[in-house]
């Protein structure tokens, strides 16, 4: 949603351009896409709650985004980086206290009832604001939603809320669910959370636990040209080697979210009929971050943090751990968010001698064994790459005389140790940049967050100046002024290193050549696939 300039994007992805280009012929065929067919896709998880209005996560969106639509979706080209879905236009008031949405007319729910502004008001007030993991942040000050007619919804805020934030968040936080099925029920346990009813191009037909989800074409979709496919099947394949084999054997036609491991891509890209696609994840950028526990006296010293930053060879990390499918990071906002990205920030070149000098300066001399001090390092187990980076970081720290003790744990244990118990000195984390720094990025460095909140500042870092910038940006209505504040935010973070940003990466899709319109928007894997088609 953040990419306004395709030239810049292609430049940034130069490393992957060769592989991406193999997918371009498919994209070029967009207009003449034939209708019909069944697309079988690999899925690696089965969320227990599939309602994207409550759970705004990629695992849920992967399946649910085809059934339940947001007000607007991210787009490579288009005003504000958005393409309209259930809303056709949006306008904010100058005081930042209201946003008016014009809604699409003639839309019906899959059960035949008409979609109106009442559904939007209900979703916003009863679900997004109180229940949704991300909506609780974006709509924190939402007070009321007025519905003067069936096609208008006016959001009223108690405190100024930037339209830029709302716009950037729309694809993720604004999934609309039917009021008539949820009103007066316990929303969290409503059966429609697993048997989805939406307005999207596909209907939810069947779920066989451990085997597959089946979606079928919505004949009454508001866009008469779409969808192209008759059926989408998400086949549950828990083993990553299994997904690759199923692709090669033509049992599935597409595996998104890097279901095929990076190490296999080189081989699989040579299989005739299969294409490796790196586009379509620009708005779902994951960041490789070293979290720092500032309660440790050594780590509270800026020189030590700078030394650690200088000890990390980002080029090596990108080339060896990510096999080139990543970018070196400069700060807390990724490069493929050009709306906010600031390149002019303090940089930390790979320089072991300088790192050693900084540590000597800080007063941590090497002992007889060449060691300065020992740290507890917890790599997050969620990705192969986060674990491998943990191994690398241990070696990189050894080179500057810091002895890192690796502690590996499974997901739940890691989450508790780092974000609740603060039982770490350094941790490797993969936070996500979700289109606007206010959604899930500022929380990584802001002070005053209670213990137990995952992917937040649990390292005890507090910087009044940084907190002030974050607070000011949160209520700055003017887009230019707000953007300037976030650029300042990036400079402050890069200078004071509350955490160290190492790399940023998107996922990889592997698809058969017969699948058309793969990666047609920057959130493609979690968008509605209405234009996706199969070559016959």
């Amino acid at each position: 949603m953040l990419i306004a300039n395709p030239t810049r994007r292609s430049f940034l992805q130069a490393g992957a351009a060769l592989l991406a280009s193999t997918a371009l012929p498919a994209i070029a065929l967009a207009e003449s896409a034939p209708a019909g067919g069944r697309l079988v896709v690999a899925a690696d998880s089965e969320p227990k709650n599939l309602n994207p209005a409550i759970v705004a996560s990629n695992g849920v969106f992967f399946v649910a985004s085809k059934v339940i639509e947001p007000l607007a979706e991210a787009a490579f080209a288009g005003e504000d980086g958005l393409s309209p879905r259930l809303a056709t236009s949006w306008e904010g008031s100058d005081d930042g206290l209201s946003v008016t949405f014009r809604l699409r007319e003639g839309v019906t729910w899959h059960d035949g009832k008409p979609f109106t502004s009442a559904d939007v008001a209900f979703s916003a007030l009863e679900v997004w604001k109180p229940l949704q993991n991300l909506g609780r942040i974006v709509f924190a000050h939402l007070e009321a939603v007025e519905t003067p007619d069936a096609a208008t919804a006016i959001f009223r805020f108690s405190r100024p809320t930037p339209l830029q934030l709302i716009r950037n968040a729309l694809p993720v936080v604004s999934s609309v669910i039917p009021k008539h099925l949820y009103e007066g029920t316990n929303i969290a346990t409503n059966p429609a959370n697993t048997q989805l009813v939406g307005t999207g191009p596909f209907r939810f037909a069947e779920y066989k636990p451990g085997e597959y989800y089946r979606l079928t074409r919505n004949e009454a979709y508001w866009d008469k040209e779409q969808p192209k496919l008759d059926e989408i099947i998400f086949r549950v394949l828990p083993d990553r080697a299994g997904a690759g084999a199923a692709l090669e054997a033509e049992e599935i036609q597409l595996a998104a979210f890097s279901a095929v491991p990076l190490a296999d891509l080189d081989r699989i890209s040579k299989v005739p009929g299969l294409a490796v696609v790196t586009r379509g994840y620009e708005a779902l950028t994951y960041q490789l971050v070293v979290e720092i526990n500032h309660r440790r006296k050594e780590l509270a010293d800026l020189k030590v943090r700078q030394a650690i930053a200088h000890a990390i060879d980002k080029t090596f990390v990108v080339d060896t751990i990510f096999l080139g499918y990543a970018e070196a990071a400069t700060g807390p906002v990724p490069k493929n968010a050009p709306q906010f990205y600031e390149a002019d920030v303090p940089a930390y070149a790979f320089d072991v001698a300088k790192a050693n000098a900084l540590l000597d300066e800080a007063g941590y001399a090497k002992d007889a064994n060449g060691r300065r001090f020992t740290l507890k390092l917890r790599p997050a187990p969620y990705f192969n790459e986060t674990r491998q980076f943990g191994d690398y970081l241990r070696q990189a720290l050894a080179a500057i005389g810091i002895d890192a003790e690796l502690v590996n744990a499974d997901s739940a244990a890691h989450q508790k140790a780092v974000y609740t118990d603060h039982d770490f000195d350094l941790a490797v984390a993969p936070p996500v940049f979700r289109g606007d720094p206010a959604i899930s990025t500022t929380i990584l460095v802001q002070s005053g967050i209670p213990a137990g909140v995952g992917f937040s500042n649990q390292g005890g870092y507090a910087n009044a100046e940084l907190d002030a910038v974050i607070a000011k940006a949160a209520e700055t209505i003017d887009t230019a002024a707000r953007t300037a504040l976030y650029r300042q935010f990036q400079k402050l973070v890069a200078a004071d290193l509350p955490l160290i940003n190492v790399a940023e990466w998107g996922f990889i899709t592997v698809a058969r050549d017969s699948v058309l319109n793969v990666a047609s928007n920057p959130r493609w894997a979690v968008s509605n696939w209405a234009d996706t088609a199969l070559k016959t």
């Binding site: 969320p47 451990g210 084999a245």
Partner: protein, 329 residues
């Protein structure tokens, strides 16, 4: 037949404390693991604030003490209620009923095949210990047994499903195929060839070795010498005297193996995407779902107890000495 009956009642009674211990230990074990069901769930949705965590802990009953939760679980279990899975938001019983048949089918076919082939090959090898045939079979079985299951599974899948395309790569049946009756059974059978083959190959090697070792020992016993002195044919000695006696440790193995296969199928179920028991257990642990894990373990324990009971009955039939000593007691 009275021996079998007595065995059954004794086993049923003695299994109740066993089950109780198993449940309490599982509960405590999962309790000592860091992180709870809420940590695991929030992680899967990309995080959430403190208030969401609080609400969820209340909804899952995790705000109560461990003793209170254990008591609640045990009292529900006493009423044969396996409880509610927080990781799946469904009743545990439903999940188990859905997954158990797949694993039983996988495990049962693999064990039956492995037992049949393993004992036959074991007899062939043990008929003349030290012969060329014995050495060949023994070496081969050792090689096969040393291969890790996941590797063997992947290699077989690449050869037969990806390269040759004779068999499907994974799954329990063709998805949304609408098949019924015999055609569906044939479809399931085709999907099971690779996973069953992988498991069976590895366990065949194990059974072969046990059978062969048992026979090698028996050849040295006096009654075999006597049988030979009587002038019995070699085939008769091998089958009626040596093999039959060597079968006893194999039956014991079978009982032990049934338990191992319930757990050991996790890897094979993941590789071949079979929605079975092993995968469910793995998901229960990573989701810190105590009720589900206990449910799986209770059902597995009951299955193992049943299999061992069967083994004992077979044992009693094969060896007249078993069970007679208890008559006086």
């Amino acid at each position: 037949m009275t021996r079998a009956l007595r065995l059954t009642t004794r086993r049923a009674l003695s299994s109740i404390p066993v089950l109780l211990i198993v449940v309490i230990l599982t509960f405590l074990l999962l309790e000592t693991a860091a992180g709870d069901a809420v940590d695991a769930y929030l992680l899967s949705i990309g995080g959430g604030d403190a208030a969401i965590a609080e609400t969820l802990r209340q909804a899952y009953g995790l705000d109560q003490s461990m003793a209170a939760r254990l008591w609640l679980y045990l009292s529900a279990l006493a009423r044969l209620d396996l409880g509610w899975s927080v990781a799946f938001d469904r009743p545990v019983l439903g999940l188990i009923i859905e997954r158990l048949p797949n694993t039983l089918l996988l495990m049962g076919s693999a064990t039956a095949l492995a037992f049949a082939f393993g004992s036959t090959l074991g007899i062939l090898a043990g008929a003349r210990p030290g012969s060329l045939r014995d050495r060949l079979l023994s070496t081969l079985s050792l090689v096969v047994y040393a291969i890790p299951g996941f590797w063997l599974g992947l290699v077989l899948a690449i050869v037969f499903a990806v390269q040759l395309r004779w068999l499907p790569t994974s799954g329990i049946e063709t998805i949304a195929s609408g098949r019924t009756g015999l055609s569906r059974a044939a479809d399931i059978a085709a999907h099971l060839v690779l996973p069953v083959g992988t498991l069976a190959l590895i366990y065949t090697a194990l059974f072969l070795r046990v059978m062969r070792a048992g026979m090698a020992g028996i050849w040295r016993l006096d009654f075999v010498l006597f049988a030979r002195a009587k002038g019995l044919s070699r085939v008769r000695i091998v089958l009626r005297h040596v093999a039959r006696n060597a079968l006893l440790p194999l039956i014991t193995m079978l009982g032990l193996q049934a338990a191992a296969m319930l757990g050991g199928s996790v890897v094979i179920e993941s590789i071949f995407a079979i929605p079975g028991f092993g995968r469910l257990a793995q998901e229960a642990v990573s989701g810190r779902d105590a009720a589900l894990l206990c449910g799986i373990i209770v059902v597995s324990a009951v299955l193992v107890i049943l299999v061992n009971l069967l083994v004992d009955i077979v044992y009693a039939a094969l060896d007249p000495r078993v069970g007679t000593a208890e008559r006086g007691a």
